[in-house]
Symmetry: C2
Subunit: 207 residues, 2 copies
């Protein structure tokens, strides 16, 4: 099975005129986030980089928080759907690989880290980050629900908590201990969460 | 059992003259990190806030990365040692509560988040963060080693990995999904990791 990537690393997709302006502005926002981080994100520079009038950018996105919020919505829209490999082992492994693909993608990984940094001091960035990840968690939680229906995991297993737990050790290495994250870590994360889930540690009665 | 705090939230301890200068400078560094973040950290403001000559601060710490590095060494020095409750269940719970205490402590939690943010774009901050957490992980891993000796966990269980796994879901909520973290999450983190460890998912043969 090919490891699925969490998100397609490509650029924001263009469409009609308004969509093209949005695509250009969000691409420029992502470029600036990667290059200078949230603290360096300036509306005028984003407008210039996108080749769009400043007035348009200020009117539509208002401030850097508005740009980041819209970028995270777009990145969530572009994300690949959850896997359906037929077994919870395969699905959790696919989830771990998709997270690995996202954080190790040069452009997307740098974007996520810039927004994680921004979220520590900017409420709009924090809200955007929360919405992005909860949407991803909810999308993948269905894989756990199917496993419960198939009898692979105990009834009452909390799918969203299982999905959070697969991502957690990978992000912990990425942003907290600042250690490299590779396929081995992704596989271990999935296997360990699966062992705990099978033991009923993610079922509601477990507290 | 009283939940142990990960680190004493108190101020840097003074000692002789050199130690007093260091304590004042590191306190001011921590205050500035909490107030303005790493991007706002300026040597001159730290010197003024500490009541110490600029020359001293530049000579001894060189740049903001030098200040953060020394602050993280001091915070690790002040940390409480690992728990020894007599059971791995108690020790992992104590570890989770100590992490919870640190991240929910107003001053210490804000400091850790500021350094996590800084580490996304500053190599010195990243090194300081890595050294701080690996020292904490190593300190607590001994609790797992003792559990293996007592026969509570399978031979070959990787203590450092167990300790990382207890912290991971708490930090994931704190800095990635930006969700509140409370005692229930700490207890669940410890219980889930324990279930996986008992199942052998942290033993070397598990990959």
């Amino acid at each position: 099975m090919e490891p699925q990537t969490h998100l397609k690393p490509g650029r924001v997709r263009p469409g009609g005129r308004t969509a093209k302006v949005r695509a250009a502005v969000l691409d420029a926002t992502q470029d600036e986030l990667v290059d200078v981080g949230f603290h360096g994100l300036a509306m005028d520079r984003v407008a210039a980089r996108a080749g769009v009038g400043k007035t348009t950018v200020y009117r539509r996105w208002r401030d850097p928080g508005g740009l980041v919020t819209d970028l995270m919505v777009e990145l969530a829209d572009q994300s690949t759907p959850h896997a359906d490999t037929g077994s919870i082992e395969g699905d959790l492994r696919a989830n771990a690989m998709s997270v690995l693909g996202a954080i190790n993608d040069q452009r997307l990984g740098a974007t996520l880290q810039a927004v994680i940094a921004a979220a520590t001091c900017d409420p709009a960035a924090a809200d955007a980050l929360n919405a992005f990840y909860l949407r991803r968690v909810k999308e993948w939680a269905t894989a756990v629900d199917r496993a419960v229906e198939r009898g692979e995991l105990p009834a009452g297993t909390d799918g969203a908590e299982v999905i959070r737990a697969v991502s957690a050790p990978l992000y912990y290495r990425l942003v907290v201990t600042r250690e490299p994250v590779d396929e081995r870590h992704a596989e271990r994360a999935a296997a360990r969460v699966l062992a705990a889930a099978r033991a009923g540690a993610f079922a509601e009665a477990a507290g």
